[in-house]
Symmetry: C2
């Protein structure tokens, strides 16, 4: 329900504001990620606050390397109001929990990679500081 008068945003402006292309937005609609978009006079797509939030959420997930197919599942979150609440909720919590776990795992991976890189950097800079004679380096 969009009671307050939403600002109508058209596809071009929206794309520009999110630094993506219009094609991307239409594509997300095409594959069902964004739902049918409201049209102005039956033609030009117009986006509301809710739509924009949803798109931002999608981009956030995508940026984290989650495929559009997987995002589609998670996107049920946004369709929940249209479905039966107590049927969907346990499943939703399950999805959320599993994604929290996945996010934690990814973060651990990143943390480990960061450690690797930093350690490597330290080894190199130490070498540079202590040793000017750089034939056959061992690090």
């Amino acid at each position: 329900m969009s009671t307050e008068q939403d600002k109508l945003v058209q596809i071009g402006e929206l794309a520009k504001s999110l630094a993506i292309t219009t094609r991307t937005i239409r594509y997300y609609e095409e594959i069902g990620l964004m739902g049918k978009t409201e049209r102005i006079g039956g033609r030009a797509r117009s986006y509301h606050k809710d739509d924009i939030l949803r798109l931002k959420f999608i981009l956030k997930l995508k940026n984290l390397g989650i495929s559009l197919k997987e995002i589609e599942k998670l996107s049920d979150i946004f369709d929940i109001n249209k479905k039966n609440f107590d049927v969907i909720t346990p499943k939703l919590i399950e999805i959320l929990d599993s994604h929290i776990t996945r996010v934690d795992e990814k973060m651990a991976d990143f943390s480990s990679l960061r450690k690797d890189i930093v350690e490597y950097r330290v080894r190199i800079t130490n070498y540079l500081a202590n040793n000017s004679d750089n034939r056959n380096p061992e690090y």
Copy 2:
């Protein structure tokens, strides 16, 4: 220089141990990510400790959503011994620093996403706990 007698690992075993396919390993060689692999009797590929470490590193990066093309640049790290040390090092440090930054950014993104998901989960479970009459939910 592989002085100690390395265990020779063949492609099938290596693939199985890393839970990938032989095609993937050959593909990485094909696009230059793994360098020419040593052969047994000029035919079957054999892998040393170093090669395996390199492959593991690649998989680690890939798992974090870094493209093979980008990994290729970072992979210079492993070729460094074959090149001139002081020519390559400043560039390498630059690469490492930029990747540390990128990793930090990604981790921040994940952290933010995790917060979103957890908050959402809390809203739902609270709703479930406080409200059994679930028509037209607002969350």
